[in-house]
């Protein structure tokens, strides 16, 4: 795969890349927020 970004990105590639990053991150943020609620109990 070329390192030069002259080639475009398909919508599927974009969705997969965002999902690859966002899904674990949202899981981590959700867990942290649930834990943080203890501060207000």
């Amino acid at each position: 795969m070329s390192e030069d970004g002259a080639r475009g990105t398909t919508a599927l590639e974009l969705a997969l890349a965002w999902g690859f990053v966002a899904i674990p991150l949202l899981w981590g943020i959700y867990g942290t927020l649930v834990n943080a609620l203890k501060l207000f109990q």
Partner: protein, 413 residues
């Protein structure tokens, strides 16, 4: 963490907490050293090679650490997580910065904010995942750390190698659609480049070094002690579980601040952003003792959330500040050299908070008030940062690379 999976007592041959603390210190040292030493290699070889090396080192470090835990040899863990993992961290920290800056010439702050936010976000995934895995692999006679290290190493390898495989740099001269560079460049934003080691000869590099060091020292000291501090300043009102929640909330603001503040710096300028960090920081650190004394928990929490957002923001905005001063060509490598400020702050911040607290308690100050002096010292550190930021001017023309030098450096000439 072991308490979370039900381990209440230590065994006679357990490693001491002080010995284990060295693992983290070695990792942070090698993070800074590798970022400083390999920065030029990362810039000139491209991000894919660097990210691949980072993935091999970081995940390899976990696998070697698993072996160390399995054989109960601490030196192997030092070598694995400390040395190899630290090198992987350093390479992985600087690789995305310059790549993203090149993709977003119109929004360099937002670009570095995204890169550095990823580094903060990782902690939010790794921490609960580690607890979950240790819970899964533990048994009444076994903690499950080695197996957790193996799984984490393989998961990191998978994610990092995918990132290395799909990363791309923009073609030369690439600009986002509709972006027109300003006809008259701003005073503190250069359109030329400074060679990585030439940057070390400029006062601007060292002023930004002081700016970052002061900003991080203040934040990192508080972050490490946030749980104990909230419980000691509000005894009976903040339980251990609530303090854990407080630390989690701080992590979210630390991560969010990286993106929000760095993006804001694209609009108000890098120097002004750091003025906000320092001036607002001085006010907030000075108010913390008052909120502690008056028992105002809500304002105490708000103060620290804003402080931690600015701590993350300081980290994330600095690569864009470097790009403004020294150009895009070697920004990742120069950022690598600047990370030594983080290493110094990583020692200075916790030491200041811990030792001054202990000194206060030994002098008979009640625990609830033991942090007051520390807060004023932190505010004082921010005054030093404010002055350093004030002294930053545009880089002198003689430090810039001319076209022939640039060609020689990248091997064209």
């Amino acid at each position: 963490m072991t308490k979370l999976i039900g381990i209440a007592k230590s065994a006679p041959d357990d490693w001491k907490l002080t010995d284990l603390g060295w693992i983290f210190s070695i990792a942070i040292f090698f993070l800074g050293a590798s970022a400083a030493v390999f920065g030029r290699w990362v810039e000139e070889g491209g991000p894919r090679r660097a990210m691949f090396a980072s993935a091999v080192c970081f995940s390899g470090g976990f696998l070697i650490s698993a072996l160390g835990v399995w054989l109960h040899q601490l030196w192997i863990v030092y070598l694995g997580y400390g040395v190899l993992g630290g090198i992987g961290l350093g390479l992985g920290y600087i690789s995305p910065v310059s790549t993203l800056i090149k993709w977003f010439p119109d929004r360099p702050g937002m670009a570095t904010g995204m890169a550095i936010m990823g580094f903060g976000g990782g902690a939010m995934i790794a921490s609960p995942l580690s607890v979950m895995l240790m819970g899964y692999f533990s048994s009444p006679t076994h903690v499950g750390v080695a197996e957790t290290f193996v799984v984490l190493g393989l998961v990191y390898a998978c994610f990092m190698l995918v990132g290395a495989a799909i990363v791309r740099t923009p073609p030369p001269g690439w600009k986002p659609e509709g972006f027109v560079p300003p006809a008259t460049p701003k005073k503190l934003v250069t359109t030329r480049d400074v060679y990585v080691y030439q940057a070390l000869k400029t006062p601007q590099f060292w002023m930004i070094w002081v700016v970052l060091c002061m900003n991080v020292t203040a934040g990192i000291g508080v972050l490490g002690q946030a749980s104990a501090m909230s419980q000691e300043m509000f005894p009976g009102r903040v339980t251990a579980a609530a303090a854990g929640g407080f630390v989690g909330l701080l992590s979210i603001f630390n991560m969010g601040g990286r993106f929000v503040w760095a993006s804001t710096s694209d609009h108000i300028g890098r120097k002004n952003t750091y003025y906000v960090f320092f001036l607002l920081g001085i006010v907030l650190y000075s108010l913390v003792p008052y909120f502690g004394t008056t028992g105002n928990l809500t304002l105490f929490i708000i103060c620290f959330l804003v402080i931690l957002s600015m701590y993350g923001g300081g980290f994330a905005t600095v690569p864009a500040y470097l790009r403004d001063m020294f150009g895009t060509r070697y920004v990742g490598a120069i950022n690598g050299l600047l990370i030594t400020a983080w290493s110094v702050a990583g020692i200075l911040g916790p030491v200041l908070v811990n030792y001054i607290r202990q000194y206060q308690i030994d002098s008979g100050v009640p625990k609830a008030q033991a942090y007051n002096v520390t807060m004023y010292i932190m505010a004082g550190l921010l005054v030093v940062g404010l002055i350093a930021n004030f002294l930053i001017k545009a880089v002198d023309d003689r430090h810039h690379m001319d076209l022939e030098t640039a060609d020689e450096v990248i091997g064209v000439g």
